[in-house]
Amino acid sequence: MAGRDHDGNHDDDHDHGLSGMALKVKALESLLIDKGYVDPAALDRFIETYEKNIGPRNGAKVVARAWRDPAYKTWLLEDATAAIASLGFTGRQGEHMVALENTEAVHNMVVCTLCSCYPWPVLGLPPVWYKSAPYRSRTVIDPRGVLAEFGVILPESTAIRLWDSTAEIRYLVIPLKPRNSDHLSEDRLAALVTRDSMIGTGLALPADSLS
């Protein structure tokens, strides 16, 4: 897929009616409704769910709980699917979860070189860069170079573990807990957990970044 993934298909719906892509999709949707294969209300429900209910704030809750509760963290590292399900996050593209703990010594980072496998129940839909050719191709051969493009520079002494999602196992990174954050509540801690920190292309925000 093209590096600049969404270039070339920006719709100009407001300029001169529907774009070619929008028309093509609309025609297919009309046909599938006409054939009786899809219910338009179900289509709306899928979109609403991924726009409003399923996103990286789910994963942030998992991470914040693991930071606060050592027993939960142990469970998460041993049986991530069950530990994550206990917070209500299950299902499509998260059927078989594994959690990976970042430490000073080890930094985990997730990629899918063959397509764009991603843990939807905890992180939502993947961003364009995750699905793009530059990330899919270079991460496994030049992880430190790719991290630098996200502004993350790790010491040479930090080992990098990459996880290429080639099967139906989905990976969630538990980022390193920020310094001086022990006094924060679970909700406040969750606010420090960015999407990228749970993919491994970023770090959690510093504790003093909370307003």
Binding site: I47, R92, G94, T113
Partner: protein, 216 residues
Amino acid sequence: MNGVHDMGGMTAFGPVSPEPDEPRFHSPWEARVLALSLAMGATDRWNIDATRHARETLPPAQYLSLSYYQVRLDGLIKQLLANGLIDEAELQSGKASKASAPITPLKAADVDKVLARGTPYARPSPAPARFRLGQQVRARNIHVSGHTRLPRYVRGRIGEIVRVHGAFVFPDSNAHGRGEDPRWLYTVAFTTAELWGKNDNAVVNLDLWEPYLETP
């Protein structure tokens, strides 16, 4: 199949460009494509392995030039045609002109349930595991003609079993309607020294099925 989708290790695509505050969708049609593919997937006419294969067998130049949602759309159209659910004339006209296949469409009220359930791929083990934790294995140097999840960049390379997951549906079979054929799934760790001839204190872990592996 050795296709362009198998991108691991290529370096010609330029830098990664993260987009600050990226929206969920860049255009409304992207959301419709997602919903259409999920709704059709829920009718169980095909499985995720067949879907991946439909996308990765798009013409290579087309695959590389399309966005993610364009690939998703073209893959869906390919599957609808291949499974006889629509024909070319209907695709052109946007109107049904032939009898429909007997499909009960997914209802809005069932969407949350379907998503929360997902499609688990773990299966009972058909035989004892051939490899054990800590064992050295070599990814086989094989080049299957159909769908596979063994990337080119590890073939012939030696790694270590770091996780044993149990038996899982085998994509090489499932993508082609040959049944689930569950096989043991392992996570295998390869050093970057082994893969790329450099020592940058990194390892690459892949989830690989038993038929992809051999004793070195």
